[in-house]
């Protein structure tokens, strides 16, 4: 299972492609794609957005879904999805608390 991720051009903020083809700022809201074709389609959407100068660094990455929660496989992506483990007050984890 995969999700498609990128960084917003303007802010650098980490985003994932949502079900509706829009970028979302929480991995919990990301669309999960299974199967070669679905992933390729999602990636194409992401790359088109890159061409519209909305995001940079578009790529797909592995996730698992545990009890309905999307969990990145690699630590790097876990950290991207939450924020630096050294600065709990920064990144998405901080927004999650204040939200």
């Amino acid at each position: 299972m995969k999700v498609v991720t990128a960084n917003r051009l303007l802010s650098g903020e980490v985003v994932w492609l949502g079900e509706n083809g829009r970028w979302v700022e929480r991995i919990t809201l990301a669309g999960v794609f299974d199967g070669k074709e679905a992933v390729a389609e999602a990636l194409a959407l992401g790359l088109a957005s890159k061409d519209r100068q909305e995001v940079v660094d578009v790529y797909e990455m592995d996730v698992t879904v545990e009890d309905g929660v999307i969990v990145p496989v690699r630590l790097r992506e876990k950290i991207r999805a939450t924020g630096p483990t050294t600065h709990r007050d920064l990144g998405k984890q901080a927004q999650a608390v204040s939200a």
Partner: protein, 552 residues
């Protein structure tokens, strides 16, 4: 300190204007990311895991209060209230927005700072001994030469697209605190029998994937030949350095593959062609630049201070600070003070905007307005009167930067690692934090004595792990963080590359492993004077290996 001349000021403001326009075109969709990326990198703007990162050059690690305050202001206004000092004496901001960067560069230009040549395959910020201009053991201040090299290398048209990045370090003292032997060019100031100033020149040192110690190519390079000889080295490198493979493109590989003698001959041949040309350094020019670095007026005082001694006797924290964080000054009555950016359990190299402001104030009040950043990620006030130490210390305590651990086991170098860096294979900061906590007790650190731990989050070795007395390299194995330990590295005048001691450790195991190494050392050292490194060099790896993995 050095002030921009008209040339510097105009090229920095031109570059700021250019970048502003490039960002505008990027945002307007006139430039694609592929077109824009090299441009932003030339201005020190990277994309990291969570956001953009701006790396600002601090030439040879020297800045004044006004500049430090500007860094604090940028941290507060455009970032998230802190900055991170790096092993290349630079500062990185981890959260700037692309749209804000032209403004940040304008702010920096106001205080004669920029982010040019902090990235890309060019000659990077020249680094120098952080006690330059103050140390008792210094032959001469290396910074005027670093500045001359900076001017020569800035926007040098021939060397803007080298096979790979190029780093130069210079030290003015025989005790090398600038790690010159692990740089592409390392320069060590020296005097010949006639009393003339010159340089011992090393070429081809470097860390990363293939660590190598620089090879000596000159025992004495006269001052006047500094630029011509450097140019000759760069030309030879630019001509023969490999461009087919990024991992083989540094000059160290060229030295290795060509052989020292042949390369030396190439350099000398090139040098002969240009040595009497425009790059020959006139004596007056060196003296003119030197004048910018003239030391502040310091009145000679007593070598010891009654105020310091009294406080030492009554305050253990101060005694620890005075024992470790002071470096002998060439003027009696003064000292160079290390402000540790390594609080116990804290993040190596991070400083908050408030701390930066405090350091700026203290530099003004007690330190003749001079500040240095060390490659060990600490901040230094180079010229402090001994009698002022107790008062300064009190202010440091209040600001949370009074840890008396310089050179000790908790004074750890750590790169940003996977918490920030897009290239990382594992985290480094949390390992540093846990080691710091484990050994944080003042008596324990003091008992262990000098021990340099250096941690990198990937093979690129920004944390200099190869030259740590204990080096830790974070890797990834089957999706888990995994740490390889090296022993016996050193980056001083007796540089050595650490050796891998055995199989690596998981994140849970690694701190215990370090503790076993330290305990083994404490059990085997010949006395308190024998440092970890000396003991390792005497004993070899066997007892340490056995402690970690059991008898073979």
């Amino acid at each position: 300190m050095y002030r921009y001349d008209e040339f510097d000021a105009s090229f920095v403001s031109q570059r700021t204007e250019q970048f502003k326009d490039q960002v505008r075109r990027r945002l307007a969709g006139e430039l694609s990311e592929d077109e824009f990326k090299p441009l932003r990198l030339m201005n020190g703007l990277y994309l990291q895991l969570h956001a953009y990162m701006l790396r600002v050059a601090i030439p040879y690690g020297t800045l004044n209060s006004r500049q430090m305050r500007k860094l604090a202001y940028i941290a507060r206004t455009y970032d998230k209230g802190y900055g991170h000092f790096t092993t290349r004496q630079n500062i990185q901001f981890n959260w700037p927005k692309l749209e804000d960067t032209p403004k940040i560069l304008e702010e920096l230009a106001e205080v004669e700072m920029h982010a040019i040549q902090t990235s890309g395959n060019c000659i990077r910020n020249v680094t120098a001994d952080h006690f330059a201009g103050a140390a008792a053991d210094e032959i001469a201040d290396p910074r005027p030469y670093a500045e001359i090299l900076r001017q020569w290398s800035s926007l040098h048209p021939e060397f803007s697209f080298l096979p790979r990045k190029f780093k130069i370090a210079i030290t003015g003292a025989p005790n090398d605190r600038a790690a010159v032997q692990v740089h592409d060019i390392g320069l060590q100031l020296t005097r010949n029998d006639a009393g003339e100033t010159g340089f011992v020149v090393f070429v081809g040192g470097g860390l990363g994937r293939t660590p190598m110690i620089g090879r000596k190519v000159r025992d004495f390079l006269p001052e006047e030949d500094l630029l011509a000889y450097s140019e000759a080295i760069l030309r030879v490198y630019n001509r023969y350095g490999r461009r087919d493979n990024k991992y083989k493109a540094r000059i160290k590989i060229l030295v290795h593959e060509t052989g020292l003698e042949e390369l030396k001959a190439d350099i000398e041949q090139e040098f002969e062609k240009i040595r009497f040309g425009v790059l020959r350094l006139p004596e007056e020019e060196v003296r003119r630049i030197e004048a910018y670095f003239a030391p502040p007026p310091l009145e000679v005082g007593a070598a010891t201070s009654a105020a310091v001694e009294a406080r030492r006797a009554s305050d253990a924290g101060f005694a620890q600070f005075a024992a470790h964080n002071l470096n002998p000054h060439r003027v009696p009555g003064y000292t160079s003070v290390t402000l540790s950016m390594k609080p116990i359990g804290g993040i190596p190299g991070d400083a908050s905007d408030a701390q930066m402001d405090v350091m700026a104030d203290l530099a003004e009040q007690y330190g003749h307005d001079e500040i240095r950043i060390s490659h060990e990620q600490n901040v230094i006030l180079p010229h402090v009167k001994l009698d002022d130490l107790p008062a300064l210390y009190d202010e440091l305590v209040a600001a949370g930067i009074a840890e008396g651990n310089a050179g000790l086991i908790t004074d750890i170098i750590a790169c940003p690692g996977m918490d920030f860096c897009a290239l990382a294979t594992a985290r480094s900061i949390p390992v540093a934090q846990r080691i710091s906590e484990r050994f944080g007790a003042a008596e324990r650190q003091a008992e262990i004595g000098e021990l340099k731990i250096k941690i990198s989050g990937c093979i690129n070795a920004c944390g200099h792990h190869h030259v740590g007395h204990i080096g830790i390299l974070g890797l990834e194995k089957k999706g888990e963080e995994f740490y390889q330990v090296t022993l016996g590295g050193s980056a001083n005048e007796n540089t050595s590359i650490g050796e891998i001691v055995g199989r690596g450790f998981s994140s849970e195991e690694v701190v215990d492993a370090i503790e076993k190494l330290v305990d083994t050392y404490l059990g085997l050292r010949s006395g308190k004077e024998e440092t970890f490194l000396d003991a390792y060099r005497r004993l070899g790896e066997a007892p340490f290996k056995e402690a970690l993995y059991g008898a073979a």
